[in-house]
């Protein structure tokens, strides 16, 4: 290893990164992604616009309407219009749902007879519709339960399956933001390291490496150190955003978070290196890196769907990508805090280390110090 040579290359890379303004991209993109997605991907629904038609005008029905009006999940309005007019409002996307309370609502409940509450929901976005449906059912059940002890009303009269998490007020930020860190730290360093090498191929400066006595190892160290240092800072920036902007609790060990993130960045850099070995132009390198990091980074992060509930194929695929292992560790450091007491986390750290080593060995093997024929 020749420190002087490596230093010269690193210095040059930093100068170029700063003068080409690439450095802004290094920090801007991760921040933009985490902020946009953190706020943008919300799986729970608040303030859905609900129209309630009260055909009963009884004490019980008004109390139910009050419940809707006081819930943060709904913007409830009461109107006495015909059913067809109400449905039109859904069609025009002015309302998300319409609830119709039948005229004998109170009477039948007291008599413990079956009540049919009409609920119509805009199904354009199935997930959202299902969530709204569950919330509406939840409010109704909740309302009835509050009467149950006082009266003889049985909750069985309305046959609905409430969403179990409903009253726990599970925050989406806690579920999504740590996953986004795993996503960003997989994509961004890989893109940068791929570009830094391919850029020299595309512009021809790679000849300086080919025609000089620099060893392949020195070249790799020199090329990968700048993105490693720059993105190491992102580990802290993303942590601060998660904890202070999104108020995600941090219950585990910061050292573990830091160490596993650095390890994970190394994996990302090695992916970029492999891409740059096989590509010749920056645009191809960029597209290829994005494709092989963004999709698994998103799908198998456990952000959208827990790995344990995946089907056979996707379960296997999830285990092939490093995202799953890393995300398990950082979800633990943020939300659980079991840390190294968990056997699984130790195992996953080992898997990540093997992952990084194998990728680097492959990159070093495939890196050629000669022109492709």
């Amino acid at each position: 290893m020749n420190i002087g040579v490596i230093k010269a290359y690193i210095l040059k890379e930093f100068k170029e990164l700063i003068r080409t303004r690439m450095i802004f991209i290094v920090y801007a993109i991760p921040i933009i992604v985490i902020v946009l997605f953190g706020y943008g991907i919300k799986l729970d629904v608040t303030h859905s616009r609900v129209l309630i038609i009260d055909n009963d005008q009884s004490k019980l029905s008004r109390e139910l309407i009050e419940k809707f009006k006081h819930s943060k999940y709904f913007n409830a309005t009461e109107l006495n219009i015909s059913e067809s007019k109400a449905l039109k409002l859904i069609k025009q996307a002015k309302k998300d749902a319409v609830i119709i309370i039948p005229n004998s609502f109170e009477k039948r409940l007291i008599k413990n007879q079956k009540v049919n509450i009409g609920v119509f929901i805009d199904g354009s976005f199935p997930n959202r519709a299902r969530t709204i449906e569950n919330y509406i059912e939840g409010v109704i059940i909740d309302d009835l339960q509050s009467y149950a002890p006082k009266t003889s009303i049985s909750t069985n009269v309305i046959n609905i399956n409430p969403r179990s998490l409903f009253n726990q007020a599970m925050r989406d930020e806690d579920a999504i933001v740590p996953g986004l860190i795993g996503f960003v730290l997989l994509v961004a360093p890989a893109v940068l390291s791929a570009l830094l090498i391919v850029k020299e191929k595309e512009e021809g400066t790679i000849f300086n490496f080919y025609a000089s006595p620099i060893s392949k190892e020195d070249f790799l160290i020199a090329k990968l150190t700048p993105p490693f240092i720059l993105h190491s800072l992102n580990i802290f920036i993303l942590f601060l955003i998660a904890v202070y902007l999104f108020n995600v609790p941090f219950r585990g060990s910061f050292t573990l978070y830091w160490f596993s993130s650095e390890l994970y960045i190394l994996i990302s850099l090695a992916i970029g290196l492999l891409v740059s070995v096989v590509t010749r132009s920056q645009i191809v390198a960029l597209v290829l890196t994005v494709v092989i990091t963004v999709l698994p980074g998103f799908l198998y992060s456990g952000m959208i769907m827990p790995i344990s509930s995946m089907s056979q194929e996707s379960y296997i695929e999830a285990h092939m990508f490093p995202v799953m292992y890393y995300n398990h560790i950082i979800y633990d450091t943020f939300l659980i805090g079991e840390g190294l007491n968990s056997r699984k986390i130790i195992l996953y750290l080992i898997i990540l280390t093997i992952y990084a080593s194998v990728l680097f060995i492959l990159g070093r093997l495939f890196l050629k110090k000669e022109l492709k024929k």
């Binding site: 002087g4 040059k12 100068k15 512009e203 021809g204 025609a211 000089s212 110090k369 024929k373």
Partner: protein, 542 residues
């Protein structure tokens, strides 16, 4: 003594494409060896093999080191300096001149001591870059970039220096300065220098020449040895119909003795005689009359005070120019002198900032004025704008349909041009599989398929071999004679001035000379070729 010994080196690319076959030569300390030949004849392949950056068959030894592969070449790399083809290819746009030298020194593990600093200053001085140490490479001119690349390659004092076309695309003055640097280095350091070039005139600066043709080394020796070897075959123009004969515009080659006066041979002649010896038939080029007769005004193009600015930079500064009927006008100048910009203004590819332009007696003020004339103008750009994935015939049909030529007529014309310009065998081939010379002729066919009155050609001959270039000029001459066409052409080959009727010299956006070729020679009786005249004007204008 570290001598270079190249022993039957062969480089073969993917798909069995030959880069260079069986190349052998030797070079001694302090010697400048020139690789001369057209594009794609194997110069770069051989350089890459010697620099140890591509796999090859055969053996290369330098001093006590022997190598057969890039891996084995690793140990000699510290003695080698290699500068690849391309203007300042090895430079980092965002680094300054000084940072470049320091980077290359660091990468080569050179101690930054007093010695180094003196050497660095000396190199900067030689390259004329002392005043520009703080300037980023991006803002250097082509010539300066090339000189910076050279001194970066020299910073570790290589014992073996390989320069791949260091002077291509560089203006004649910078070219002279590059050669001065090389001459100093080899004298002071005893470096072996291998230089490739497409400019035959530079051969005189070299101790030994290797001529490349057909991916082989065709001949080697000093410039004098090489020209002497063909002296007996070169005659002043004499009619000769024999198969052992070849008659060109001002010279006749014959393998059998002719009863005629000999002419001083040039290096270019060697390529023709080689073709003659190998019984390679030169494609006969002919041009028949126009299909439609046209009235052509005596002045085809008239520019008055044409100016183009890019921000603060004035690319063309108040240029007056006239192109007459039936005239070939050569537009000469260094890189960045404003040649291409001028042609693009004529074509309406750049808006004209100031000045008046009249094409075919029609003042050009708007896009509508131009549209009326589209059918009378032909244009070939620097990089032939052909569609790579369409066959030659498909390309030509496409260009014909742009000019609304009926399909039956277009097909007939394509057949005819194919025969006359000698590419009928290639009509169904893809342009990327064809030699540059063929592509160039069919680009011309595309530009003249609508039988224009005037033809604008922007550096159509760059990188094309001697024979193809000769045929190309023959074609232009025939077009002029048969069609009465007017041609405005830019080129980097000074020797091609001889084919022009009139020459305009541009420098830094200004016109510095405009005269017939004869008059240029009359004014400069001491000049033996046009390059010398050109340099004269460039120096005067400084």
């Amino acid at each position: 003594m570290a001598n270079l010994n190249v022993n039957s080196v062969t480089v073969i690319y993917k798909g069995n494409r030959i880069g260079i076959k069986d190349a052998s030569f030797k070079a001694e300390e302090g010697e400048i060896v020139g690789f001369i030949g057209a594009d794609g004849t194997g110069k770069s392949s051989l350089m890459h093999a010697i620099s140890g950056i591509i796999k090859f068959k055969g053996e290369i030894s330098f001093g006590k080191y022997v190598y057969h592969s890039p891996k084995e070449a690793e140990k000699v790399k510290k003695y080698i300096g290699f500068m690849p083809q391309g203007l300042g290819l090895i430079l980092y746009d965002r680094l300054t001149v000084e940072e470049h030298l320091d980077f290359f020194a660091n990468v080569r593990n050179i101690k930054m001591d007093k010695n180094f600093k003196t050497y660095k200053q000396k190199l900067l001085h030689m390259a004329g870059l002392s005043r520009f140490t703080e300037r980023e490479a991006e803002h250097l001119s082509g010539g300066m970039r090339q000189k910076l690349s050279l001194i970066c390659t020299l910073i570790h004092r290589p014992r073996l220096l390989l320069l791949d076309e260091p002077t291509t695309g560089v203006d004649p003055l910078s070219r002279l300065e590059l050669w001065e640097i090389l001459d100093n280095i080899r004298k002071e350091e005893g470096t072996i220098i291998i230089v490739s070039t497409a400019y035959m005139q530079e051969a005189s600066k070299m101790d030994r020449l290797l001529l490349f043709d057909d991916n082989r080394i065709m001949a080697s020796g000093t410039s004098k040895q090489l020209t002497d070897s063909v002296r007996n075959y070169v005659y002043k123009k004499t009619p000769c119909k024999d198969t052992d004969c070849l008659e060109l515009h001002n010279v006749t080659y014959s393998l059998k003795p002719l009863n005629s006066e000999h002419k001083d041979p040039t290096l270019e002649d060697i390529f023709f005689i080689n073709a003659l010896k190998n019984r390679k038939k030169l494609t006969e080029i002919s041009v028949s009359k126009r299909e439609r007769r046209l009235e052509i005004p005596p002045i085809v193009m008239e520019a008055k005070g044409l100016t183009k600015k890019f921000g603060d930079f004035v690319a063309d500064d108040k240029i007056d120019m006239e192109l007459k009927r039936n005239e070939i006008l050569g537009l000469f100048g260094a890189n960045g002198a404003g040649k291409t910009t001028f042609i693009k203004m004529l074509l309406g590819l750049y808006p004209i900032d100031e000045g008046e332009l009249t094409l075919l007696s029609q003042p050009i003020r708007s896009g509508r004025d131009r549209r009326k004339l589209k059918s009378k103008i032909g244009y070939v750009s620097q990089h032939f704008a052909l569609y790579k994935n369409m066959s030659v015939r498909e390309n030509l049909i496409y260009f014909a349909s742009i000019h609304q030529i009926p399909a039956s007529e277009a097909l007939r014309r394509i057949e005819r041009y194919g025969k006359e310009l000698g590419f009928s065998d290639y009509l169904d081939a893809m342009p990327k599989d064809l030699p540059l010379g063929i592509n160039q002729r069919f680009s011309i066919a595309a530009a003249i398929i609508h039988e224009p009155v005037v033809l604008f050609l922007d550096e159509p001959t760059s990188g094309i071999d001697v024979i193809a270039r000769h045929q190309f000029w023959q074609l232009l001459k025939l077009l002029k004679e048969q069609w009465g066409i007017s041609i405005l052409i830019t080129t980097h080959y000074m020797s091609e001035a001889e084919y022009c009727d009139r020459v305009v010299l541009l420098k830094e956006g200004k016109k510095i000379a405009d005269d017939t070729v004869e008059n240029f020679y009359k004014k400069h009786p001491e000049a033996s070729n046009f390059e010398e005249i050109f340099l004269e004007y460039y120096r005067e204008a400084n």
